[in-house]
Symmetry: C2
Subunit: 354 residues, 2 copies
């Protein structure tokens, strides 16, 4: 198989973790006889510094021309503390999602048995949890019109959904539920929001075409609670953009750490793969970041974009093995971890490669 | 002291739990020599059934004429499954919040030591947690304009904030932080939302007037995660309406159950006190609901609206004692609970009264 992959390291710990995602891709290519070619491009703060734009035209062109994209992270503390900045790193990520039509963000919450104790939740609550989130990614209050009054005293964002937007992501979620646990939980706030009422209507209609899938509707506040109380009850979770952002970060605690979670954004064309963790500037450049989420993003790429299941499986098996041997990065270490087995980014990446 | 209290039982388990809140108020009145008079009114589904309106005019008049309001719960499954219903129970709650100017919703997350094991979080993660949420309650996407296109295929809600709305709730939160742990965490999504950028600007400005309070800004996705990962790090949490709805329900798992959490809504006039749990129709009328949140709402009323600290303390002490004796309602029982000490609503209410 011949595939061309665009690597966008981005900001903060992005570059150091994507290095290892890319290294694993190269290794898989060698071992399985695939020809993976690579290119690199800028986005976010890195893009602003070099070109003034968080998504340089060149990056978008390269993205469209690639078979899949491996992305690192985005964001910079400088903009976080300056609410009036006009140009912001995150705009790059939002724009590429929109331009590539990446409307479905898949976030599997998988639990490595070895990490049961790294979570703040009790092991008996966690054990057996296996959730696949479908987060809508190109609509909602993220992309609705933003306004600021002239006196700057009033600010607004439009939370808006169109029927087709809900339909296409819901269809993907139902299809996935059908080949998984056959349960789908759609999360909204239909008791208050009109956009949620449209969301619920569409999901209710679609559910009729999937009688084999048990469909449930849950309010976002309740879902945020149930996820902590009893995560095992969820199989496929379908949510809007904003609610999905919140719930999946919350759910990362189930997996022990955000450092373990990968995501796939798919839609009309090229797939986009990234860790769900952010740029983590506080530890950037210190060889402390956990590269496993980037490596797991690569596993998702192989499976979803290229249909290479065995190759994807080889990666998760390798990670499982490294964890079983007791190796940890700082974020997933706990009181029982042998101190000599706490590794930096490089050493952990190397272990998985081996 | 002479005070007039309006009781609004509402829907589902509302009536059975407020019965005990009211009983405790009467008992406190007798023991401490206060004259509490009561009236009752309808809201929500109960209001719709009787008058066609989720907030009958009479209820609003009585509310305005009272010194404090004890509310139960709102909502009915009938409307949840019918996204196109025009009249909905929740409209009653939203309207009374707006009409009474209840812009600040205080939700203390207090942890009874006896209930450490009832949570899905590890006891060592929980121990020492003490958070006070300030949720803005009369603005945001809850009250912004709602639209549905004529073909019904597009739906929207306006997420909107005005400077004065942020200022007044933030001021209350800073004042509270000053007399508590001196730490304030303001939660927003300023990397994406314009309304959040206004929010952050205002909080940053106000923070200058509170140099003794350590102010932090956190994105909502991160906050949803940190709350599970390390709840102890929070003291006062300040959030917008929607984010507060989500975070406080999530945080209820820290207290073991929603059945233990009370809230106070305050603002321009009469204070409004309610459990944070909902109408829970699945257990309504079965003598299963936990009345402690309603009783704790009364404690908040005594302290916040009437300035009666000793009386409020007497209530939490009584609850603490009942829990120490091993008594539990179903929601806060765990594997170690003596089965004979699992009580229904009535028996638990009675225990606290004694
Ligand atoms: C960086 C930010 C814009 C982004 C989002 O909110 O979508 C991030 O939190 C994510 O979840 O991918
Ligand atoms: C019933 C609903 C409208 C309400 C809200 O979302 O505010 C409830 O969830 C709450 O938190 O008080």
């Amino acid at each position: 198989m011949t595939k061309h992959i665009l690597v966008i390291p981005g900001d903060g710990i992005g570059p150091e973790v994507t290095t290892w995602g890319k290294a694993v891709l190269e290794k898989i290519g060698q071992s399985y006889g695939h020809e993976f070619t690579f290119d690199e491009a800028l986005m976010g703060h890195a893009g602003i510094e070099a070109t003034g734009s968080p998504l340089p035209d060149e990056t978008l062109e390269k993205a469209k021309a690639s078979d899949a994209i491996l992305f690192g992270a985005i964001g910079h503390i400088k903009y976080d503390n300056d609410p009036s900045a006009k140009v912001r790193p995150e705009q790059g990520l939002l724009k590429i999602r929109k331009e590539l039509g990446l409307y479905a963000n898949l976030r599997p919450i998988m639990l490595f048995d070895e990490l049961l104790d790294a979570s703040s939740l009790k092991p008996e609550i966690l054990k057996g949890t296996d959730i696949l989130f479908f987060r809508e990614l190109t609509g909602d209050v993220y992309f609705g019109e933003k306004k600021r009054s002239e006196d700057r005293n009033t600010a607004s964002d439009l939370m808006i959904y169109h029927r087709y937007e809900v339909e296409r992501i819901a269809t993907k979620a139902f299809e996935a539920a059908r080949v998984r646990g056959k349960r789908l939980c759609s999360v909204d706030k239909a008791n208050v929001l009109e956009a949620s009422r449209l969301w619920r209507e569409v999901v209710q209609e679609l559910a009729k075409q999937y009688p084999d899938v048990e469909t449930e509707h849950m309010f976002i506040d309740n879902a945020a609670m149930q996820l902590v109380k009893n995560p095992k009850k969820f199989d496929v979770v379908l949510t809007a953009n904003l609610f999905g952002d919140i719930l999946t970060d919350e759910a990362s605690q189930i997996a022990g750490s955000m450092g373990m979670l990968a995501s796939a954004s798919i839609g009309d064309g090229t797939g986009f793969f990234e860790p769900i963790h952010g740029s983590a500037h506080d530890i950037a450049g210190q060889d402390k970041a956990n590269p496993l989420a980037s490596i797991l993003s690569v596993a998702l790429m192989l499976e979803i974009s290229f249909g290479l299941k065995d190759e994807a499986k080889a990666i998760t098996t390798a990670i499982d093995k490294v964890l079983k041997e007791g190796f940890r990065t700082g974020d997933i270490a706990d009181a029982n971890t042998d101190k000599s087995k706490i590794l930096g980014t490089t050493a952990m990446g190397q272990k998985v490669l081996e």
